[in-house]
């Protein structure tokens, strides 16, 4: 338990990085975890090369795990390329989150990454990898 809500998680949960909205974002998606009602929207602004993630923000509501892991994701992806992040394995984020997660909580922790991937693949016109399938159908209208 104390492992789960370790200080870095609580810090990101209480002071989320990159929280907000980008008007006229280059890439954007919204997602919902139907199990618990967590919602995340992600907005991406590319640099002039149309590839480097210049600015990224998220908004939403949800449990500490989903909000903290999305906040950590914002720090992780800024300055990296869309292609790189579109192909980023989930383990990269989970290592960063660094807490033991049950299958249910794993869905919370990966919601933000899934939504970001939907946004990037959509912007690039590339197909969403199968392991994230379904997430792009859960968009909130």
């Amino acid at each position: 338990m104390e492992d789960l809500y370790r200080e870095v998680i609580l810090d990101h949960y209480k002071n989320p990085r990159g929280h907000g909205v980008i008007e006229d974002a280059d890439a954007q998606a919204e997602g919902l975890n139907p199990l618990c009602g967590d919602e995340v929207s992600i907005f991406v602004q590319f640099a002039d090369d149309g590839e480097t993630i210049d600015e990224v923000k998220f908004s939403g509501r949800g449990c500490a795990i989903s909000q903290a892991s999305t906040s950590m994701l914002m720090e992780m992806v800024k300055g990296r390329t869309a292609t790189e992040i579109a192909e980023l394995p989930k383990e990269a984020l989970l290592d960063e989150v660094g807490i033991p997660l049950t299958p249910i909580r794993l869905k919370c922790a990966l919601l933000g990454l899934g939504v970001l991937k939907v946004a990037l693949h959509r912007a690039k016109g590339t197909p969403l990898p199968e392991e994230w399938a379904g997430l792009d159908e859960l968009d909130l209208k």
């Binding site: 809500y5 618990c36 009602g37 449990c63 795990i65 909580r105």
Partner: protein, 413 residues
Amino acid sequence: MAVTARPASLDAQKLRADFPIFEQKIHGKPLAYLDSAASSQKPRQVLDVLRDFYETSYANVHRGVYVLSERATEAYEGAREIAREFVNAPSGRELIFTRSATESINLVAYAWGLDNLGPGDAVLVTELEHHSNFVPWQYIAKRTGADFRLLPIDDHGELRLDALDGLADGVKVVATNHVSNSLGTVNPVAKLAAWAHEHGAIMVVDAAQGAPHHRVDVQELGCDFLAFSSHKLCGPTGVGALWGRAELLEPMAPFNLGGHMIRAVRAEDTTWGELPYKFEAGTMPIAEAVGFGAAMQYVSAVGLDAIAEYESELAAYALERIGEVDGVTCYGPPADRRAGIVSFNVEGIHPHDVAQVLDSEGVAIRAGHHCCQPLMTRLGVAATNRASFYLYTLPEEIDRLVDGLHKVKKILG
């Protein structure tokens, strides 16, 4: 069947000794299981019947001419008679075993709904419904072109009966739960049934949450169909029951088709068997039905009125104690009009986090939408925390829940 205690007023501490699950510790602490609305724990008396049945009497039922098959059939049909008595049904022919309360409702929605609903007709369900009594009706209404309507609730989570007459046009089905699994609201089923019949509609009751905790009498309720299940009632998973009026069941088409539900099968045509077998296709959950029977006997011996009264006291205590915690909102009606279920939210803290911290204290509650998304929308929340009680719940477990909430606020507040 012997029950360890049969007190005038229920002795939960004594009854707990019947439930082996409480012999273990969770995270080094005694298990405070406050999720009985999702599923109940099982007493030794039921577990013993299951084991004994498999060890001494198991075979497939009906048609076998050997001793074991006769024994198994006797036990299975004995369970049907227990279920008939449990809901005071006039005849065992009207008591159908199913795989769950959900399947019971689907049976009615498909087998009655597809042949009796059409454009111009309406199905009325309540805003309080579990998805099990909502989705099948919404789907069958769409399939048949019937209108699908919702009876709204007030801010206490109680049905707005004053809205009924405005929803009456063309109504053919009224479907409600007996007790709301989210808010604990005890619905006025008899009143709704009378209204339904006045308007020429059938009354379908989802008693999955009601039957384990309150005495159910289908003749007193005046309904037409009533669904309930075993696993919320101290019995095994995988089996439920449907009671329906014979005059409605008789002309109904079958739901599942296959072995045992037939009278004669020819290449050109098949004719259906008698009630209740017409609706029991394939090998049924035989041992589970026998265990379900033992479970109904167990809760009957404890006393359903005693259970209802005890849980109402627990609900009152929980509402008072949980309500004392700053920033907590409780949903649903006052204690005297609810069953042993309390849904609540802690301001600014997601239910998943609340439930996770409570788990570390050995307190098991449910966090989520409780299969009631339309209700969550009405309450304006994505999810709630829910503590629910049964005959083995102790007041000190509610104290531990409250202590846990203070810890939640300390960590996440």
